[in-house]
């Protein structure tokens, strides 16, 4: 369905340096947290990819790096043929027109002193879009996010709107420049269930009508299943599985993804209650276990897992997994 590659991420890493305590100084330690370590993937034009993982797995940092909001420590991001690191002032402005961010907390994402109208116009003003096109572009986007029946809200202030309405405004602001690529960072996690569906439907609608490539970040597998064709699961800064959403959920390869899928409760009483196939809790990000970072909790861990880090390799047609134990698994589950 989509051919041309829009985004090419190569060995992307980001580590944050922590303030050194006297203990660190004595032992010569430089404590740092590898929020994102050695991630590579490509995203085609119009493709929606879900990034799933628990808090602290680096998904938000990854999202911010794709939009040049955080500078990576190493690796490169190629957007539409241009390396993000080497954009000068003007080309960065052009990049801003093509890539946008949908925020998690609608109550905090709009300037309290701006009217709704002004927030939606802001991207057009910032990226110096010719004035005569502004009204037309805003009218289009209001239709797209189904705000055409909420025009009376345009001149009110953010504190006068509900969560759902605010998130539509955030969406409108993100889409008003007709971007080719958006990152949605947990776009519905702050909303009530009955309102979430509305925003998710707009996202699906926009994905189909605007040919938009999107990275959809969430900790909730059910939301990703509803919006994204392809899913990556992340654990402690690296990608552990990558494949079509349906396969990853129905037949997860990596033991961590299996635990994730198994852990999600479903609204029917007959769901299984047997305990999860993993032990312990998330290790301290400052000193992760050597080798595979899941090795200390993984039911299948062997010596090799504790010594070296498993590469992300293709275990099946367009399905990648980062685990030494996977081949036995594929044979076993057929």
């Amino acid at each position: 369905m989509h051919e041309e590659i829009l985004l090419d991420v190569k060995n992307l890493s980001k580590s944050f340096i922590l303030s050194r305590s006297v203990g660190d100084v004595i032992h010569g330690r430089h404590p740092q947290v590898d929020a994102v370590s050695d991630i590579s993937f490509t995203l085609k034009r119009g493709e929606t990819i879900g990034v799933v993982g628990e808090s602290g797995c680096g998904k938000t940092t990854l999202g911010r790096m794709l939009l040049k909001l955080i500078e990576p420590t190493s690796g490169s991001i190629d957007f539409g043929g241009e390396d993000l690191a080497s954009l000068d002032r003007d080309s960065e402005l052009a990049f801003r027109r093509r890539a946008q961010l949908v925020f998690q907390n609608p109550f905090d994402a709009l300037n309290p002193h701006f009217t709704i109208r002004r927030s939606i116009y802001e991207p057009l003003v910032n990226t110096r879009v010719p004035e005569n096109q502004h009204d037309q572009m805003v009218a289009d986007v209001l239709i797209r996010v189904q705000m055409d029946r909420m025009l009376h809200l345009l001149d009110s202030y953010p504190h006068q709107l509900s969560g759902g309405q605010l998130q539509r405004v955030v969406l409108a602001r993100a889409l008003v420049l007709n971007p080719e690529f958006i990152v949605a960072d947990e776009p519905v996690s702050m909303l009530d269930v009955s309102v979430r569906a509305g925003i998710l439907n707009v996202l699906r609608e926009v994905r189909d009508t605007m040919g938009l490539a999107a990275v959809f970040i969430s900790h909730d597998l059910a939301l990703v299943r509803y919006v994204c064709e392809r899913t990556i699961t992340m654990y402690m800064g690296s990608v552990v599985e990558d494949g079509p959403t349906r396969d990853v959920i129905n037949r997860p390869l990596h033991p961590y993804t299996r635990a994730l899928v198994q852990a999600v409760p479903v609204p029917n009483v007959a769901q299984s209650h047997e305990p999860l196939a993993l032990t312990g809790n998330l290790p301290d990000a400052r000193n992760p276990p050597p080798g595979c970072r899941f090795s200390d909790r993984c039911p299948l861990a062997e010596d090799i897992c504790r010594q070296s880090r498993p590469p992300l390799r293709t275990a099946e047609p367009n399905r990648r997994v980062a685990c030494f134990m996977v081949p036995e698994m594929v044979a076993e589950t057929g």
């Binding site: 801003r96 300037n111 003003v125 009218a139 025009l151």
Partner: protein, 323 residues
């Protein structure tokens, strides 16, 4: 309500949005920081209605401001003029009478007139010093908080130094060496009192900087300076106003103390000067309450009015800090 719009579909957005256009083009687009100032203006007037503190504070300020403006008309005598009775006797230490509503000083000057003229110098020093202090503080707070890194470090070390200098002694030394003038008092205040407001504004700017709508401005292509002045500065406006009204009080107190210690100007009348004059002429021993109570009370009221205003606005604008 807008007329019925056909159900959504890719082809139809064109027609549907055309129907929408009138709603957008009619309203003028305000994009500069002005709307934020307008909003701040509205808040300024809304607050007194809701907070008694602010109401009382503003009323007191108004009274003193009017006194200061019309001081020349209100005084009965020339404040520093030495007055003689008909029999060429010095009108010394007269109790309050019809002629001299508050009596006369040891050197035969009319206390009431001095009190009225003192208002002018108090507010003059108070306002100029407060505006200087808060202007520097806000600027330093904005820059240190927003840019962080070595600039922040440098400015905060500068603040440490300013806080490390004992305030009143410094002003005394300044006044004694550079001549006893109110401008030196204002200079002393401006040099040393900015760190308090700078630190508070810096921490607010740092918390604002983490807010999602600032990141949104960045991602929608706003430049560094636009974010600072259009998104951050207006939010800080309210806080610097709170500090101004408090800083006026501190400035007046400082000026009074400096004058009291004898380092104030002797040519202009101020409440500090009056109190120093009273103290030096043994007014306490003679129990001349009419001489040294009124100037003190005036200082208390003006400074308290500043505190009331800042407390009133804080309660309304920063409810969660309800102190």
């Amino acid at each position: 309500m807008p007329q019925a719009i056909e159900p959504m579909g890719p082809a139809s957005t064109g027609r549907a949005s055309a129907a929408l256009l009138p709603h957008l083009t009619t309203v003028p687009r305000r994009t500069g920081p002005l709307p934020a100032l307008a909003l701040a203006g509205k808040a300024f007037w809304r607050v007194p209605r809701e907070s008694h503190y602010a109401k009382v504070g503003l009323v007191i300020y108004l009274i003193f401001a009017l006194t200061a403006i019309f001081a020349d008309q209100l005084v009965n005598y020339e404040p520093l003029e030495i007055l003689f009775a008909d029999n060429y006797q010095l009108r010394r230490n007269l109790p309050p009478t019809a002629d001299h509503w508050l009596g006369t000083s040891y050197s035969g000057r009319d206390i009431y007139s001095q009190l009225v003229m003192g208002t002018r110098s108090a507010l003059a020093v108070g306002l100029t010093a407060a505006i200087c202090v808060v202007a520097i503080g806000t600027l330093v707070g904005l820059i240190a908080g927003y840019f962080g890194g070595w600039i922040d470090n440098l400015l905060m070390r500068l603040a440490d130094i300013a806080l490390g200098i004992p305030f009143l002694p410094f002003v005394i030394v300044l006044a004694s060496f550079m001549g006893a003038a109110q401008s030196n008092v204002v200079l002393g205040i401006a040099l040393l009192l900015w760190p308090n407001s700078a630190r508070v504004i810096r921490s607010q700017v740092m918390s604002l900087r983490e807010r999602a709508f600032i990141e949104a401005a960045r991602v929608t292509g706003a430049g560094k300076w636009r974010i600072l002045f259009v998104h951050i500065a207006p939010n800080v406006l309210a806080l610097s106003f709170l500090y101004t009204s408090v800083a006026v009080g501190w400035a007046i107190l400082t000026e009074a103390s400096v004058s009291f210690l004898g380092f104030g100007p002797s040519d202009t009348v101020s409440w500090g000067y009056m109190l120093q004059d009273a103290y030096a002429s043994q007014a306490l021993g003679r129990g001349q309450y009419n001489w040294f109570i009124p100037p003190g009370l005036c200082i208390v009221f003006v400074v308290m009015a500043g505190f009331f205003i800042s407390r009133g606005y804080e309660e309304v604008l920063f409810p969660k800090l309800k102190g």
